[in-house]
């Protein structure tokens, strides 16, 4: 009878804990019934047991039919979207890494071709695996919480002809190219700020090409603020993905856009106002070469520029939010 227990174990071991015991017992009494049917109430032979278990079939298949629904990491509903997003992300990451490495190559030529290729492939595959992993994890989370992308209403809702999606008015249409460009830009920014932030700065040329870079940011402070930057960029990416999925400015999307812009602006403000963010040498350079007069404190001047920049960013984000809200509302009034 050991074989019977092994069979029951094979069926139930991967089933949910809650049902396991009950299924085990029911299966055991079924097999005993089937054996009694074959052999009468005497001890069944090995051959009887084999025959009965063979009749019940592959334990993995039986376990499958005990499971209520098929489990997916990424189900058929979102699979196409997943592939679509994955392709874009892979292309953007490959492009971004190649760009960053090319700039790095120009700034600081490596010792040998081997080093260059090794470094390039290492960074490329490292970044690609990261990107693929993150996209997959996000979609797996969607699957787990049964989020269906690109659906207008939930399955259980009653459908009537009024729920047919409106033909998008021309001005509310979001061109996929626009969202994809935004996504590419965001991914490139992620790579730039995470891997090549020290390359943003002044490039000092001499006769043999570039020799030194004076970075704009203080490396240590910048690294400590990196999570902030990444959250900002993630919000940006999410925004573009939503635009891509919906394809037009709805009131919900416009509201989300306003919300996201507000968060982005707050983060941007915290980031840019952080003390010690800027590299002192960067400003000393301008005084050294005489562009900034020695009697003016460069950081004071820079503070003014930053204030101007904050104003411009605030204006741009607000404009983006409002224009799209207006589009969405006007579109709704028309229908």
């Amino acid at each position: 009878m050991e074989k019977v227990e092994r069979y029951i174990y094979a069926v139930t071991r991967k089933l949910p804990e809650k049902q396991r015991k009950d299924i085990e017992q029911e299966l055991r009494s079924l097999i005993e019934d089937m054996l009694a049917d074959r052999a009468g109430e005497v001890n069944p032979s090995e051959a009887d047991i084999d025959a009965v278990l063979t009749e019940l079939g592959d334990p993995a298949l039986l376990a499958d039919s005990y499971r209520m629904a098929k489990k997916y990491l990424i189900g058929p509903q979102n699979y196409d979207t997943y592939l679509f997003v994955l392709k874009i992300v892979i292309a953007a990451v490959a492009f971004g890494i190649t760009l960053a490495i090319t700039i790095g190559f120009v700034v600081d030529p490596p010792q040998s071709i081997g080093e260059l290729i090794g470094g390039y492939l290492g960074s490329l595959f490292g970044a690609l695996f990261q990107a693929i992993a993150w996209v997959t994890i996000i979609f797996a989370i969607f699957e787990h919480y049964e989020v269906s992308l690109g659906k207008e209403f939930k399955e259980g809702d009653k459908w009537d002809t009024g729920k047919l999606p409106a033909l998008p008015a021309m001005e509310t249409v979001i061109k996929p190219a626009e969202a994809i460009a935004g996504l590419l830009f965001t991914i490139m920014a992620v790579i730039l700020f995470n891997y090549a932030e020290h390359l943003i700065g002044i490039y000092n040329f001499n006769d043999e090409g570039i020799t030194t870079v004076i970075p704009l940011f203080n490396h240590v402070v910048f690294r400590s603020l990196l999570p902030l930057v990444n959250i900002m960029l993630a919000i940006g990416a999410l925004k573009e993905l939503l635009k891509l999925a919906l394809g037009k400015w709805t009131i919900g999307l416009a509201a989300a856009n306003l919300f996201f812009n507000a968060i982005s602006f707050s983060l941007f403000l915290i980031f840019i106002r952080s003390s010690g963010l800027w590299n002192d040498k960067f400003f000393a350079y301008w005084t050294d070469i005489g562009i900034i007069p020695p009697d003016i404190e460069p950081l004071t001047l820079w503070g003014g520029i930053i204030n101007g920049l904050i104003a411009v960013v605030a204006f741009a984000l607000l404009l983006d939010a409002l224009v799209n809200l207006v589009k969405a509302f006007r579109h709704r009034v028309n229908h």
């Binding site: 049902q19 299924i23 029911e26 009494s29 019940l56 298949l61 039919s65 005990y66």
Partner: protein, 115 residues
């Protein structure tokens, strides 16, 4: 003419799925355990593998159409199923649907022969 055996099997499987539910519910106005139900269906010409029936019984129970209880008084503990109140109502409607469907198919396939 040859046809795709696998395709036929999957179509038959699909067709049988609803029919088996109907057959199971027709017999569970009194309590039966899984294997006795297999035999009852068998005796009425409907062969259903235990490996198909047992998971189905659990599914119907979870959907609230069947109720179950363990009987441990006999030598072998057995899980008995019977149709719930909700299941009874549903069974009536399901049977009507089946009859309509069956009549339609009969009509369609008969008229198909004539023309």
């Amino acid at each position: 003419m040859s046809y795709n055996k696998e395709l036929l099997n999957s179509l038959v499987l699909e067709m049988r799925r609803g029919a088996i539910i109907l057959a199971v519910m027709s017999r569970l106005d009194r309590s039966e355990y899984g294997y006795s139900l297999v035999q009852i269906l068998e005796n009425n010409g409907l062969t259903v593998e235990p490996g198909t029936l047992y998971p189905l019984l659990r599914r119907l129970e979870k959907q609230g159409l069947l109720e179950s209880s363990w009987d441990t008084s006999e030598s072998r503990p057995r899980k008995y199923y019977r149709v719930s109140t909700q299941g009874k109502e549903l069974y009536k409607r399901l049977l009507e649907e089946w009859k309509i469907l069956s009549a339609s198919i009969d009509g369609l396939t008969e008229s198909g022969k004539e023309s």
